[in-house]
């Protein structure tokens, strides 16, 4: 550990930001792991710790229950479970972290999907005594489905299996094989004890057979962003900026956040869905002209030609445009309490464009535990994951979710009351073909 002054200096310098999510159940010790990460990285401040100590004493517990740091709502405190996604913030000298802390209980699939949707990394927690169980496979499937780039398997409660390497190795091997089959690009397995603090922040003296990083070291060093040179550049237009002032009589800028890839001044571009073409005449990076900008920067694009561009359009490099379509085939996670049915009229929100749509078919429902498919379920209920075919009233410039998480994702919304019904991912469900027990010959090729 460095001195406080050095720590301060490091904390105040520019660092990167990593968004990650946790998946695991109360019984696996997830709240304890999160509490331990916050506590051992010195992110818990004195008054928070006092409140936890007081609440623990009030419940007759002798040691402060670190899980209380993260269980925020009264219903949760009463039931001792986590019922919604909570966001936690902590920092080390090397990096800033946003943690989407998601409950692992079976009925909260939608929360795990929500947390994973913005995560660059997911920590899947298992109990060393139980190994890979149905729920673990469900967590792996969600990470694969949401295309989370990095997965960490944290084998917890190693203290209860005498810190035995063979126990860890067997679980790590089984999980890695399963996740790889689903197309998860990278799995890092770490043996830990959240309760005792082994390998969470500090390396474990009791597991000298393990030579890898602690959970925190891995979080600090995993790439937080990726090389964008190979990405298809995409710019959804959010808002048209037209000052119409004496100073800027003719300024017409297209404001938005670059969803993928890079844009350069001078580059020929096409506006979708109209197909009109122009050239990037200038890029304003929040008041400052730049030659090049990339995701996820919020910028304003200026085009050389006065063409009709408005909110909901997508600007793309002319040589690299996605096909536009009105027939969307996708995997959805149903997140509303009311079911989604064939023939239902919905709104589909894709990037900055919201269009009317109709659910044409629900070819199959997927059971996450064993990846079995159930053909023609007719409806999807809360926390179901299934394939849907949706017909939209207007063409969409939709990428495959595998290529672009931001331009391949969409929401289905209830036009009557605005409820978010489903989270959609265009294209195939999984990167790799899993050996799923097909329920019949008509099964989808997952």
């Amino acid at each position: 550990m460095t001195s406080t002054t050095e720590q301060l200096a490091a904390q105040l310098s520019a660092t990167t930001l990593l968004r990650f999510a946790t998946a695991g159940s109360v019984d696996d010790g997830k709240s304890t792991l999160v509490g331990r990460l916050l506590h051992d990285s010195k992110s818990v401040l004195a008054d928070q710790l006092e409140a936890v100590e007081a609440a623990s004493r009030g419940r007759g517990q002798e040691t402060p229950d670190l899980a209380l740091l993260t269980d925020g709502l009264r219903a949760e405190r009463e039931q001792g479970i986590t019922i919604d996604v909570a966001y936690r913030y902590f920092a080390t000298p090397r990096r800033r972290f946003i943690l989407a802390d998601t409950p692992g209980h079976v009925q909260y699939t939608r929360n795990m999907v929500t947390g994973a949707s913005t995560a660059e990394l997911t920590v899947v927690l298992v109990d060393a005594r139980n190994g890979v169980v149905e729920q673990t496979r469900r967590h792996a499937a969600i990470a694969a489905l949401l295309r989370v780039p990095h997965v960490v398997l944290a084998v917890n409660k190693m203290d209860l299996v005498d810190y035995a390497e063979p126990v860890f190795a067997a679980i790590a091997e089984e999980f890695t094989a399963y996740a790889t089959e689903l197309g998860v690009p990278e799995v890092t397995a770490i043996p830990i004890s959240a309760l005792a603090g082994d390998n969470v922040v500090e390396p474990s003296a009791r597991m000298d057979w393990y030579g890898g990083p602690t959970v925190l070291e891995h979080l600090e060093t995993v790439p937080a962003s990726h090389d964008l040179t190979g990405c298809h550049a995409r710019f959804p237009v959010q808002y048209v900026i037209r000052p119409q002032t004496a100073e800027h009589p003719d300024y017409r800028g297209y404001a938005g956040q670059i969803a993928a890839g890079t844009f350069r001044v001078g580059e020929p571009v096409t506006v979708l869905p109209s197909g009109r073409t122009s050239t990037v005449a200038g890029i304003d990076l929040l008041g400052e002209p730049v030659d090049v900008a990339w995701t996820p920067q919020s910028v304003t694009l200026l085009l050389a030609d006065d063409i009709d561009v408005s909110r909901g359009d997508i600007v793309v490099p002319s040589g690299d445009a996605p096909a536009t379509t009105q027939d969307v085939e996708a995997t959805v996670c149903h997140v509303a309490d009311e079911p989604l049915t064939v023939g239902q009229r919905v709104l589909l929100k894709h990037t900055t464009r919201t269009v009317k749509a109709i659910v044409k078919a629900i070819p199959s429902r997927l059971t996450l535990d064993d990846l079995s498919q159930h053909p023609e379920p007719g409806r999807l209920v809360a926390n179901d994951i299934g394939r849907v075919t949706v017909r939209t009233a207007e063409p969409l410039a939709l990428d495959s979710y595998a290529d672009s998480r931001r331009t391949g994702s969409f929401l289905l919304i209830d036009p009557a009351d605005g409820t978010t019904l489903a989270a959609g991912m265009a294209g195939d469900s999984f990167a790799a073909v899993a050996e799923a027990p097909a329920a019949d010959d008509e099964g989808w090729d997952f």
Binding site: A46, R94, Q238, T245, V290, K349, S409, I413
Partner: protein, 311 residues
């Protein structure tokens, strides 16, 4: 290449954004989404540091055009004069329109009752709710951050409120990717929190990087204060000090700025942004724990107030 982005050290790709650039870009994206999807948005502006940062981000999001939103201040009647002065200067400088909802006015006409403890923060809910109804605001930007308090850790960026401004944690929509769903029925509105993912330290570092001017009470100064519930409060007409409370002159500054009756000062000799930031980074207390009496009422205090329509 001319860019103003921070250079990030370490092993990241040349395309990695610094945490401040990433947070700034996200907040700007949120402002622009609201501009594109709502009819009558308003920014809650108190002259405190979080609302000042919000306004700064909104100015950047729409430059070189004007910010397409008006401002709303819920004035408790116990605000620091330095802060009100700052508020009025900011409004004038950027040619904005300011609406004020006054707690004092509600008390004067008997629509609200002063609490025995003199705290007016809980009294802001009714004037805020009625101002939203009266002006038919459909999106209301607040400077709330998820790191402030446990109940806020679950708050959405777009938080749906019914016609009574109530927040029902079980009715909040899942928020996926960067796809914000702002649809609502007539009479309902959406509270929007562009600083959701910022921490106190992020806000201060951003203020420093952008050279944003703040009201002077954020920096160390001599002030007549007295102690109540372990906090240094400013003597004033709002109800302090009582006969049993001694005032003394101390060198203090404020970490948060709210109603005088429940915002405490901390002992500090930090007179510059650098000194303030170093102090915060080294502090072992959260900003609310150190300075806000209203959150200490009960473990579920914030959750209860949010349900009623508080920020």
């Amino acid at each position: 290449m001319t860019t103003s982005v921070d250079v990030v050290s370490g092993t990241d790709s040349p395309y990695a954004l610094s945490h401040l650039d990433a947070l700034e870009s996200e907040a700007v994206h949120i402002f622009r989404e609201v501009a594109g999807e709502f009819e009558r948005p308003v920014i809650l502006f108190s002259g405190g540091k979080d609302s000042i940062v919000m306004l700064h981000l909104a100015l950047k999001a729409f430059a070189p055009a004007a910010v397409p939103f008006s401002l709303l201040h819920v004035d408790t009647g116990h605000n620091f004069p330095e802060v009100l002065e700052y508020r009025d200067r900011a409004v004038a400088r950027h040619g904005l329109r300011l609406h004020v909802a006054s707690v004092q006015e509600y008390i004067d006409r008997g629509a609200l009752k002063e609490r025995p403890d003199g705290t007016r923060n809980p009294l802001q809910t009714v004037p805020l709710t009625e101002a939203i109804q009266q002006h038919r605001f459909d999106a209301v930007f607040g400077g709330g951050r998820r790191d402030e308090e446990k109940a806020r850790a679950k708050e959405r960026v777009f938080s749906l409120r019914d016609e009574f401004s109530q927040w029902d944690p079980r009715r909040q929509r899942p928020e996926l990717w960067q796809l914000y769903n702002g649809r609502h029925a007539p009479g309902e509105h959406v509270r929007v929190f562009p600083l959701s993912n910022w921490t106190e330290l992020d806000v201060w570092q951003y203020i420093q990087r952008e050279r944003i001017e703040l009201p002077e009470i954020y920096f160390a100064h001599e002030r007549e204060v007295f102690q109540r519930s372990g906090m240094w409060l400013t003597a004033g007409e709002w109800g302090g000090p009582k006969a049993t409370e001694e005032t003394e002159k101390r060198l203090v500054r404020y970490r948060t700025v709210g109603d005088m009756s429940c915002t405490g000062a901390v002992d500090s000799d930090a007179t510059t942004l650098d000194a303030v930031i170093a102090e915060i980074a080294a502090s072992r207390l959260t900003e609310r724990g150190a300075t806000r009496a209203d959150d200490k009422m009960s473990e579920a205090a914030m959750e209860d107030r949010k349900r009623e329509g508080y920020f």
